[in-house]
Amino acid sequence: MLGIGTLSTGNSLQLSPESPLSSPSCRTTNYQRSMSFPSRNPKRFTVIHAFAETIPKVNVLNKKPANLYEILRVKETASPVEIKTAYRSLAKRIHPDAATSESDSRDFMEIHKAYTTLSDPTARARYDLSIGAAGIRRFGNRSSSSSSSSGGFVGQTQTRRWETDQCW
């Protein structure tokens, strides 16, 4: 939908920290959840992850309620160069090795994951399609495709995904 071919490449980096989904409270909760592997409820996490190999893109979307563009703090129309620049400048602040960093490795991993998707033209196009669609339709599509490939496992995950997404 948002084909990268239509985007300009000469623009300078534009940060959009004012976007509603990247508000501090939202992000913090998200990190806390993914930080504590042994103590948090692992069922939800692992079941979702079991699909990683079959439908990775939808997966990223469901696991990360925040939009990948918001994670990288770029506009959805950002050019590949802007995405790269944003990733690097964020890495310099967020990476555990960086001098000014006050965050742990989870934050960087999140940024790196977003960058991996958005820097690959095919993956980005697929991701753009998935967020372009309305919420209800997108989940309907996904569950029908995954239930055809696997058994009763999906029933539980589907409901749980709904819960997860309703939080956001």
Binding site: V81, K84, A91, T100
Partner: protein, 574 residues
């Protein structure tokens, strides 16, 4: 992987002694311990400075001489003649020997070294000894390295007039995590805390990132991304990395490496000059060792000369009746070492492929390390990168240590008002990590060249009906079968409720933090139950000590397939 017991002790000491400087973090120094040479560098506040020893040398030979009671290293010791290094009392090539078992081909190739390397070929540590007063006195590579590091540390402390605790060390790409623990052990023995272990080419990559950053500053340009291939070949190892650099950030796209280096070239030429070398020197007596030393020096000199001329005359009087007196041509030299050069080329090609870059997009081919002077090595690397000329901006012998010093400053939290330390390395893991499942298959959880820090999770299930325990055996490497990889450790997940095979879910998560510490988490989940059956296990790897090949055999003998795991994904796809 850091040895915490030692870390705690050194931390408390540091805070005690460094009271005046406590507002500032302790600046870590960079050390590049090469198989043959070594150097130390530090960020002096405005640039990287190489430290010199009392004889004004920046490059010091990596060896330790055992004489009487006190061993002395190559940092301060003055050899009356180079032959003294080959008298049996000096141990060197520690980096080739460390963390290897006596079935390792690298250990077997080290038997021609002029000291004692004895093997039993059963998968245990080799026996290494130095000749002291006509007695073979045993030592270990860790001990030799520690003695050497103590000297380096003393040298740095005198010059920098402060206590040195934190270091960034460069390491070969192909080192297993077990070998890294041996390096850390040696550092701990020398009272040093390892802040980072940096693969050698990534250290050169950081120096490159800084240089590119400066170019951008000078031109006030936009600083677009540059892709560079770094080829680093020293005496012991050949390493390659592809990095994407912009704005002072060096992102490692791919790494490859192998234990081939100048030492292999030297061995090949020695065997070529003296075909019955192994037979002549098999007894390893003091006289044989001296002759081996003579041959080694002559061969080394010849190889060096072949870098600048087409042929060289080699003359060695082996005293026991045989004499070598012949001309060695460059074509002949290249033919003898064809296999070494082929392996180098493969590493370069593999790295370019893994990095998923087009050869045309490589801006610079950077050649560093002692072997980068060999014409054949230069031509094969430049040919693979389709470049006419190599990058000339850095000293091939000092690039790695300069990068390590930069990393030491960055990781210590030092900042530079002029922005010269506005740098970051985003590392990648050089070897895949996974567990044993589906019989004896190696199932990777984190693939090689994954960006660090990383955290990946995979689900497994039981292989037998009512299986109550499962073995998590963690391996590192690229082989499809576990036997081809390094065993890092193992632990048991217990208390699986009796259930049909394939229904309990055993979740395994691997976490690598920015300082490359690997933790493995595992636990059991039952369908329809939200809480894990038992508390999850968290295990820091590696846990195996010496003789790790034996552990896998012992486990198999004791438990057979009763504790086996299967991957869950495969089942779902069926």
């Amino acid at each position: 992987m850091a040895e915490q017991a030692y870390t705690v002790a050194s931390d408390s000491e540091t805070t005690g002694e460094d009271k005046p400087t406590t507002p500032y973090p302790e600046l870590a120094i960079g050390i590049d311990i090469g198989t043959s040479q070594c150097c130390v560098a530090v960020w002096n506040g405005s640039e990287v400075e190489l430290l010199k020893n009392t004889r004004n040398q920046k490059m010091m030979r990596s060896y330790v001489t055992f004489k009487d009671e006190i061993p002395t290293g190559g940092v301060s010791a003055h050899l009356s003649h180079e032959h003294e290094m080959f008298s049996g009392s000096a141990i060197f090539n520690m980096k080739r020997l460390i963390g290897r078992t006596d079935t390792d081909p690298v250990i077997h190739a080290s038997k021609t070294l002029p000291f004692l390397v004895q093997t039993l070929n059963i998968g245990v540590r080799p026996f290494i000894a130095a000749l002291v007063n006509d007695v073979w006195r045993s030592t270990t590579p860790e001990e030799v390295l520690a003695v050497f590091l103590v000297e380096l540390r003393a040298m740095a402390e005198v010059q920098l007039k402060r206590v040195i605790r934190n270091v960034v060390l460069t390491i070969p790409v192909s080192f297993s995590r077990f070998q890294l623990t041996r390096i850390e052990r040696a550092c701990a023995m020398a009272g040093l805390h390892v802040l980072r272990l940096m693969p050698e080419p990534t250290a050169a990559a950081l120096l490159y990132a800084q240089q590119q950053q400066q170019v951008v500053h000078d031109n006030m340009g936009s600083g677009s991304e540059k892709i560079a291939l770094i080829f680093n070949m020293g005496a012991g190892y050949c390493d390659v990395c592809v990095t994407a650099t912009a704005g002072g950030v060096s992102q490692i796209k791919a790494l490859s490496g192998g234990s081939i280096g100048g030492e292999d070239i030297l061995q090949n030429v020695m065997h070529h000059l003296l075909p019955n070398l192994d037979c002549l020197f098999s007894s390893h007596g003091p006289n044989e060792i001296k002759l081996m030393g003579l041959l080694r020096i002559a061969t080394q000199d010849a190889i060096h000369e072949l870098s600048s001329q087409d042929s060289v005359r080699v003359e060695v009087d082996l005293k026991n009746g045989s004499k070598i007196n012949r001309v060695l041509g460059r074509a002949e030299f290249e033919e003898i070492n064809r296999e070494v050069f082929r392996k180098c080329e493969n590493l370069v090609m593999q790295c370019i492929n893994d990095a998923k870059v087009n050869v045309e997009d490589i801006s610079d081919a950077i050649l560093v390390g002692g072997c980068s002077n060999i014409p054949k090595v230069r031509s094969l690397v430049l040919g693979s990168c389709k470049k006419e000329e190599p990058y000339l901006g850095m000293d091939p012998l000092e690039a790695a240590v300069c990068g390590a010093a930069l990393e030491g400053a960055v990781a210590s939290g030092i900042s530079d008002p002029l922005g010269s330390l506005d740098l970051l390395t985003i590392q990648a893991i050089p070897l895949s990590l996974g567990i044993c499942a589906d019989g004896n298959s190696f199932v990777p959880i984190i693939n090689r060249n994954t960006t660090m820090p990383a955290r990946k999770e995979l689900s497994f299930t039981t292989a037998r009906e009512n299986q109550t325990e499962a073995l998590i055996a963690v391996y590192e490497g690229e082989g499809t079968k576990v036997e081809e990889n390094h065993l890092l450790g193992y632990f048991k997940v217990i208390g699986i409720p009796p259930a049909p095979k394939g229904s309990p879910e055993i979740s395994v998560c691997m976490d690598i933090d920015a300082s490359n510490v690997l933790r493995v988490f595992a636990g059991v989940l039952m369908p329809g139950v939200r809480q894990p059956v038992q508390p999850f296990l968290e295990v820091k790897m590696p846990t195996v000590d010496d003789g790790h090949g034996w552990c896998a055999e012992a486990l198999l003998k004791m438990y057979g397939s009763t504790l086996d795991l299967c991957t869950l994904q495969k089942k779902m796809l069926q």
